[in-house]
């Protein structure tokens, strides 16, 4: 499953990282190098193996339905690059 320039372009777009066109070729070969090394996983027989998503074997803890946070917009807006009237201000979204 070699990664070509089109794939890198698509993946960079999905990840919202601007990669200049002239970088795509070298990125593709870099990623191919890593993926080729990763490819050895296919040697492992994993038939019937349950995927392991966590090292913790316990059920999900739950909390009570109680309001414990919020109420202070300053706490969440403190580091905002742009804000106004307690809103975050972001570039115009076109739907």
């Amino acid at each position: 499953m070699a990664i070509d320039v089109a794939t890198v372009r698509k993946v960079a777009r999905l990840a919202r990282i601007a990669e200049p066109e002239d970088r795509l070729e070298s990125l593709a070969s870099e990623l191919n190098g890593i993926m080729a090394w990763i490819e050895q996983l296919s040697e492992v027989n994993t038939d019937g193996v349950e995927p392991m998503t966590s090292a913790v074997e316990q059920p999900l803890p739950m909390r009570d339905d109680v309001v414990t946070e919020g109420g202070d917009p300053r706490l969440v807006l403190a580091n905002a690059p742009k804000s106004k009237d307690n809103f975050f201000v972001v570039p115009k979204v076109v739907e």
């Binding site: 890593i34 990763i38 995927p51 090292a55 913790v56 690059p81 570039p91 979204v93 076109v94």
Partner: protein, 490 residues
């Protein structure tokens, strides 16, 4: 009172308790040491005023007789930990000048125990790296140099700042984090002790996430006992972290010095890689000899899926990271690089805010999760992860702990591996397995390379059995004798 920075944490706490010196005195000594050691680039933010304020408060507590377990001890904090009112950046430009309005759970515990914060420690950007070279603040230089050479060496990574600061006596101990070896490899490279506890021991709340299912906090310290003291205060159940383990934290220091006679120590054949450096192999043999002498039984074991751990890790960690780092989008905090529209703003912000290694991992992670590749890569890696964990489960039926080298080499020169990602990734070949399996792993300095650089050995334990690791490491530390210290060239 420059001698104050040479003290171990344990000795310093004893001195503080006996009022041989005050917290303000030992804190000022460290502040001076930090100022004098800026060439190492270990601290990305020094907080001397805050440190002195905290030290004075500690002295007041001591005077009134209600001191905590770490009262008055000045520590360094890896910049991955969010600290209230103190800039926290994960050493990434994208987080910029972020000043949290909250304090991480682990550091909250440390301050509650009375510790003093000296500042924030350098690290690889978002903890992605094994050499500290990916930091937005530039690399940390290892206090150690090869015999007869001035060439700057890496302290390892990602907790390179933490390891260097401890090795150079710029703090009594430091917080660190470990996703694939980021505590143990730098500890090995700097002659310090580092432990990554069982996954779930330390709360992840308030620590900038890299790979959530692998990230664990732990200490880097000067001695095994110091590491045990620090971990006792850092660990503990936290309801704000759903993966935090609801178990009691023992006094880990009480395990140091315990008799290890009769413990069975596993030596995994698969870790004896082709081309393992002879001095690493010799070091390993030395460790085996020490444990034998202490009365341990040495057992050959097999961890058959070892070689697949790193490739599996390089799917799982980037996949989680690609999603964890989506929040760095320039909308609510951190850097924003405007474009002509929203998508361009996202793309510019993330292109200029993330460094090359972080971008590389985000791209890999995005790729392995994308439609058509999920089963072949991500799901496959999760299954291999299970196989690796099962290897350990089987081994721990036969042994009480496992001994391996910490890293395949001693510290290497800055720049030597920065052009070859895979060569860099191989640094974690011995450490990454415990992250995948969630097991505790401890690295302690066990000797020196032929050119005088520290080398570490790793002990791996059963889940939640950090205590046995501290006992074994204590015994090995004793057998080893006093470690050499780096020359103060800075």
């Amino acid at each position: 009172m420059s001698g104050l920075t040479d003290l171990t944490l344990k000795a310093a706490l004893d001195g503080l308790a006996s009022k041989a010196f005050s917290s303000e005195e030992i804190t000022r000594a460290h502040i001076a040491a930090i100022e004098a050691a800026r060439a190492l680039n270990a601290y990305v933010l020094e907080t001397p005023e805050k440190a002195i304020e905290m030290a004075r408060a500690s002295d007041a507590r001591r005077a009134s007789g209600d001191a905590g377990a770490l009262d008055g001890a000045p520590l360094g904090i890896k910049d991955l930990f969010c600290t209230e009112g103190v800039r926290s950046t994960a050493c990434s430009n994208i987080i910029g000048n972020f000043v949290p309005t909250y304090e991480s759970s682990v550091t909250t515990r440390l301050w509650r125990a009375g510790a003093v914060m000296l500042g924030k420690l350098n690290m690889d950007e978002f903890a992605m790296g094994s050499s500290n070279e990916s930091s937005a603040f530039g690399p940390v230089t290892n206090p150690w140099r090869a015999k007869g050479s001035n060439r700057p060496l890496t302290p390892g990574g990602s907790s390179g700042g933490s390891a260097a600061a401890v090795a150079a006596d710029l703090c009594l101990g430091a917080t660190a984090t470990d996703t694939g070896g980021s505590i143990r490899q730098p500890a090995g490279f700097t002659g310090t002790v580092g432990i990554k506890p069982t996954y779930g021991r330390c709360s992840r709340w308030g620590i900038v996430a890299f790979a959530s299912s692998l990230d664990q906090a732990g200490p880097i310290a000067k001695t095994v006992e110091d590491a045990a003291i620090l971990l006792t205060s850092m660990a503990g159940h936290d309801v704000k972290d759903s993966t935090s383990l609801s178990v009691d934290v023992p006094d880990f220091a009480s395990f140091v010095g315990k008799d290890v006679k009769g413990l069975r120590i596993g030596i995994p054949g698969e870790y004896r890689l082709d081309g393992l450096q002879p001095e690493i192999a010799a070091l390993w043999d030395q460790g085996v000899a020490w444990l034998k002498d202490a009365g341990c039984e040495i057992v050959d074991i097999s961890l058959p899926h070892t070689k697949y751990a790193l490739p599996a890790y390089y799917i799982i960690a980037p996949a989680e990271a690609s999603s964890n780092l989506a929040r760095y989008d320039g909308m609510r905090f951190g850097r924003r690089e405007e474009g002509t529209n929203l998508t361009e703003t996202y793309e510019n912000t993330r292109a200029s805010g993330f460094g090359a290694e972080v971008k590389r991992r985000i791209l890999i992670g995005t790729y392995v999760l994308s439609a058509g590749y999920y089963d072949a890569y991500y799901l496959k890696a999760l299954k291999v992860r299970r196989r690796i964990a099962e290897d350990f489960t089987a081994a721990f039926h036969k042994v009480d702990a496992i001994l391996t080298p910490t890293a395949p080499s001693a510290a290497f020169p800055i720049g030597e591996k920065s052009d070859d990602p895979v060569a860099m990734y191989l640094n974690d070949v011995f450490t990454v397995t415990t992250n995948l399996a969630g097991l505790p792993g401890l690295s302690l300095p066990a000797g020196q390379s032929s050119d005088g650089l520290p080398l570490g050995l790793q002990l791996i334990g059963r889940p939640l059995d950090e205590g046995t690791l501290f006992s074994l490491a204590g015994a090995m530390e004793k057998a080893r004798g006093v470690m050499a210290r780096p020359d103060r060239w800075w």
